[in-house]
């Protein structure tokens, strides 16, 4: 067994799991955070995407032992009890998700992108989402939603 002690969505969590447990399984089965999904288990589809120490990663490609002492952010850590994260709001307004399975992964990638690059071009957005496969939507409204957030932030700044 490996013992891990980490921060998940701002909360200190500990667990004792088999060494071969991936971060994805740790989140889903031990912490009951089922937002990150198992779509392929080999890092191709991005449905398992989370942010570890500020780094956007496939949680199916990390072992639980590797996140000891680290900071993990999942989809469940974005909204507060009285407010959606702007990306969640924009996705809702634009109708960016259909079946929703890729949603948590895409939203984490969008968050990572906007944290790095507040004014991404369409090419930047496509690049940032290229590790998230979506079979339903064709990505159009996800790109629109992300552009809307970037524009709104720009407008908010110019008002000051």
């Amino acid at each position: 067994m490996v013992s891990v002690s980490l921060t998940v969505n701002g909360e200190k969590r500990t667990a004792s799991v088999a060494p071969e447990t991936t971060l994805l399984k740790l989140l889903r089965e031990t912490f009951n955070l089922t937002g990150a999904k198992l779509g392929c288990d080999v890092g191709d589809c991005g449905a398992c995407t989370v942010i570890v120490d500020g780094n956007l990663v496939n949680s199916c490609l990390m072992l639980a032992g590797q996140v000891d002492g680290r900071d993990v952010l999942t989809i469940e850590g974005l909204a507060t009890s009285d407010q959606l994260h702007p990306i969640q709001k924009a996705f809702e307004d634009k109708g960016s998700l259909q079946c929703g399975f890729c949603g948590p992964g895409v939203i984490m990638s969008a968050k990572w992108l906007l944290d790095q690059n507040p004014d991404p071009s369409v090419a930047d957005i496509r690049d940032a989402l290229s590790g998230n496969l979506c079979r339903c939507t064709g990505y159009t409204k996800m790109i629109e939603a992300i552009q809307t957030i970037a524009r709104e932030r720009e407008d908010a700044k110019s008002v000051v």
Partner: protein
């Protein structure tokens, strides 16, 4: 995934000690983008008893100029390469190559060392480093040794590493830092695609506008990343002209041994080698002229 024991190494010496202690059925975990994907569906006979995690061995990180040249730690991720100021300025081809790998998530986890050690012939980090005459440092229980990257690779998914050895760093010789180089990859998609063919071309512009120390490296067209020696010796000392670049492209085809597989036919790959080699040479020259113009304008 099948069970294994897990040990986290504090630094590279600790890692080597762990490998020696728990080998030979032991695997090194760095970024995990190849290893973990592999272990999920691999046969029982292939499965390690122990996994040694080196992701916290900070002495394997970092990008800096040393006496030998530009040193890139084995644990440097593809994203870190893309963001490194010195690499962006001196060797943008390495940035281009890193950018063609996988997608954001896999670039954030995947390491340069891991890409080289997995030794898939179509690896995207290989050709540029081979074109720049890179050398690598390997650490084992008996100490460290260095060798040209071309000698590090043995064949598909095979390097000289023994089960108790670790790839520590990759060094681009001082005289090649800043050499005009260009990398091109042709895959069936723009992202998350293996290369059908990848090419790196590198040369200094000699007196009277000639090719000086030209290098052409090819990936995915032989059991390992190779030089195109016929193309290279043809170019040496020749005037830099479009015709010579076209000819070099044709000669590079003869140095390669592409295969038919479900992604492409050998014939198609041969066509790609000729075109990509010519284009890589053109773009490397373009980089040189752009830099010269920038220097002249005093920026």
């Amino acid at each position: 995934m099948r069970a294994f024991e897990f040990f986290a190494a504090k630094d590279s010496s600790h890692a080597v000690a762990l490998l020696a202690q728990h080998g030979p059925k032991v695997k090194v975990l760095a970024g995990g983008t190849d290893l973990l994907a592999d272990l999920k569906f691999a046969a029982a006979s292939h499965h390690p008893r122990v996994v040694v995690d080196i992701s916290r061995a900070d002495d394997l990180r970092g990008i800096q100029m040393t006496d030998q040249g530009l040193r890139i730690g084995a644990l440097v991720t593809h994203t870190e390469i893309m963001n490194s100021p010195i690499i962006r300025e001196q060797l943008p081809a390495l940035v281009d190559a890193a950018h063609t790998i996988g997608a954001v998530q896999t670039r954030n986890l995947g390491t340069l060392g891991g890409n080289l050690v997995t030794a898939v012939p179509s690896m995207d980090s290989g050709p540029t480093l081979v074109a720049l005459d890179a050398i690598v440092t390997v650490a084992g229980p008996d100490g460290k040794r260095q060798m040209p990257l071309t000698d590090f690779f043995v064949g598909p998914r095979k390097t000289v590493l023994k089960s108790d050895e670790l790839l520590v760093e990759i060094i681009i010789p001082k005289e090649n830092v800043g050499k005009p180089t260009h990398f091109l990859k042709f895959g069936l998609r723009k992202g998350q695609a293996l290369a059908l063919v990848n090419v790196a071309a590198s040369f200094w512009v000699g007196d009277v506008n000639t090719f000086k120390a030209p290098r052409v490296a090819l990936g995915a067209v032989a059991p390992k990343v190779i030089h195109a020696p016929t193309a290279e010796s043809f170019l040496e000392g020749k005037p830099i002209t479009p015709e010579n670049m076209v000819e070099a492209g044709k000669l590079a085809v003869d140095d390669a041994k592409p295969i038919n597989d479900f992604r492409a036919s050998a014939a198609y790959r041969r066509d790609l080698i000729a075109v990509l080699t010519r284009r890589a040479l053109e773009s490397a020259y373009q980089l040189h002229t752009t830099r010269k113009a920038t220097e002249r304008s005093g920026q």
